[in-house]
């Protein structure tokens, strides 16, 4: 299964933020939309990093005055991005190995979406359940 199948039923929402924005603004945006990460983009809209809630928590735990910092200070950069043609399973593996939960999706240089571990698991569950349905149908037929 390709990522495009995961993205198709995900809705278009991908929230971005400027590297110069303050962490206070970023945190407010994460809370407002109830999400875990923002894609950091340059003036042309290209992803240059990602800011996850974990980045903020880590800074807070280290005793930093995180809210006074900028997104650029705390973001992970460069960011590992995927394309819609990437295999969902391979991307899930990459995310697990590298311990990240969000991957921006870039198509020919344009940011077109984001997938979370949850999105990938949801799509895989549908696929696996579908295979079970298929097997059940075959058994009932036999």
């Amino acid at each position: 299964m390709k990522l495009e199948v995961v993205l198709a039923a995900r809705g278009p929402r991908v929230l971005t933020i400027d590297a110069a924005a303050s962490i206070r603004v970023a945190v407010a945006r994460l809370a407002e939309h109830n999400i875990g990460a923002l894609v950091v983009v340059d003036a042309a809209g290209h992803p240059i990093g990602i800011l996850s809630e974990r980045d903020v928590i880590r800074a807070l735990a280290a005793g930093e005055d995180a809210l006074a910092l900028t997104v650029g200070d705390l973001m992970t950069s460069p960011v590992i991005a995927a394309t819609p043609a990437d295999d969902a399973e391979a991307v899930l593996q990459t995310m697990t190995t590298n311990h990240f939960r969000h991957v921006p999706i870039v198509d020919h240089g344009v940011l077109v979406g984001i997938v979370t571990i949850g999105d990938l698991v949801r799509a895989q569950l549908i696929e696996v359940r579908g295979e079970v349905v298929t097997l059940e149908t075959r058994l009932m037929d036999a």
Binding site: P84, A90, V91, E131
Partner: protein
């Protein structure tokens, strides 16, 4: 339930291969739903032409779109539209007797055919091209297609995969089946199914036994000496068509193929990368089997990028606000794209139905002016629509099965609306 065709079952009738009758039996599970007094089927009623979104909003509290993927994905290479370069989508609909495709013609006078893509649809097309007339007659393929395929001069069929054997989209039962064809030898280049280090690493890491079995099977085919059968089905890997070649008369004469090697994308996928080497495959007919694509429905938000209705877990979204549109939902291929077997649509639909139930419980539904059957029937009667009921379909179904019994096949399909209305005594 409305369908633009007089008959129900979508791709189960017009996509699933005619020699795969067991799979088509899944329709039997629908009888119970169809018998429910709360359910009615209106065949031959097209959304967007015979019924508009406005009409439905006046009649129903919720509307679900499950219109599938009615078009094809393009390869985007020169020569794609030469004569005898056909989308697999059309070939499949034609041999399965889809009323809108029955009048197409496929020129099968060339000896070599190439199929681009190595998904299950590509395998279906390859297998159909390799069946003997006797085998074809035992299927429910449209009679005109059996006739045309009986005249086919195609002897060599090439399936072209751009990545390696471990990345092939076809599934094991389908791969196994082509190895058992009575009339065709499967030909595989040993070097092309030798696993590269990346795929080997992937296989070891995942411990995927089905994938190991697939690769194994391909290697077994590669080692098998041809038995001299009438046709040859060649499975090629690591080649991407970069152009279809003109035979000088506007028809396909061959394909320019770029040889690939495998690499890993930054996100971890094993992808094809051109080596710079090119080769030419001479072929007089090409089937492009690189995927289906959804089409937009009038008035329903569409996501051009993915070719699906703009949705989140089946709830249709407003493109401006990105918030759910009250009362509109999607399921199946028009929701997630043209991927997955019949069974996948059940959990996929369950997800949407859960959203529908939650919205209904919360009162987030449409407020139809007249949600009655009488209102619908009046609307259809006022237009020139001739709806086909489920009872009508059962009648057609019985006639098709009876004709099949006489012909020694599972069924003989009606392939035009006129035939169907005549059989229903409604001409």
């Amino acid at each position: 339930m409305f369908d633009r065709l007089p008959t129900p079952y979508g791709l189960v009738r017009h996509g699933v291969a005619p020699d795969h009758q067991k799979i088509k039996a899944v329709t039997r599970g629908f009888a119970e739903t169809a018998a429910d007094p709360r359910f009615r089927f209106y065949g031959n009623v097209e959304f967007g032409a015979d019924l508009t979104l406005c009409d439905l909003q006046r009649l129903y509290h919720q509307v679900l779109f499950a219109t599938g993927a009615q078009s094809e994905r393009r390869m985007g290479i020169p020569g794609e539209d030469l004569c005898r370069s056909y989308p697999a989508t059309e070939f499949v609909a034609w041999y399965n007797g889809h009323p809108d495709y029955r009048d197409l013609a496929f020129d099968l006078s060339a000896e070599t055919a190439a199929i681009v893509g190595v998904g299950n649809v590509a395998i279906d097309v390859a297998r159909i091209l390799c069946l003997s007339p006797q085998e074809l007659r035992r299927t429910d393929m449209a009679p005109y297609a059996v006739e045309a395929l009986t005249q086919s001069r195609v002897r060599d069929v090439y399936l072209l995969g751009r990545r390696g054997p471990a990345q092939a989209a076809f599934t094991n039962p389908e791969l196994k089946e082509i190895g058992e064809l009575a009339q065709a030898d499967v030909v595989v280049h040993p070097a092309e199914v030798q696993l590269d280090p990346l795929s080997m690493e992937e296989l070891a890491r995942s411990g995927d036994r089905l994938l190991a079995r697939k690769v194994d099977l391909l290697q077994t085919y590669a080692a098998r000496p041809p038995a001299g059968r009438a046709r040859r089905l060649h499975l090629r890997f690591l080649v991407s068509p970069v152009a279809l070649l003109d035979d000088g008369r506007g028809g396909v004469g061959g394909l320019r193929l770029a040889r690939n090697r495998l690499a890993r994308s930054v996100a971890g996928t094993i992808v094809a990368e051109a080596t710079g080497e090119l080769e030419t495959l001479m072929a007089g007919v090409v089937f492009r089997s690189v995927g289906y694509r959804g089409v937009a429905l009038p008035g329903v938000p569409f996501d051009e990028r993915w070719g699906v209705i703009l949705n989140e877990r089946g709830r249709v979204l407003d493109p401006e606000t990105e918030k759910p549109v009250v009362g509109e939902y999607a399921a199946g291929w028009v929701k997630r794209g043209p991927s997955g077997v019949i069974g996948t649509n059940k959990p996929d639909a369950l997800e949407t139905v859960a959203e529908m139930a939650a919205d209904a419980a919360a009162g987030r539904v449409l407020s139809p002016a007249d949600p009655s059957r009488a209102a619908l029937d009046a609307l259809l009667a006022a237009s020139r629509v001739r709806p086909v009921s489920y009872a009508d379909w059962q009648h057609l179904d019985a006639l098709e099965a009876a004709a099949g019994e006489r012909a020694g096949s599972p069924r003989v399909k009606f392939t035009s609306r006129e035939e169907m209305f005549r059989a229903l005594g409604r001409q």
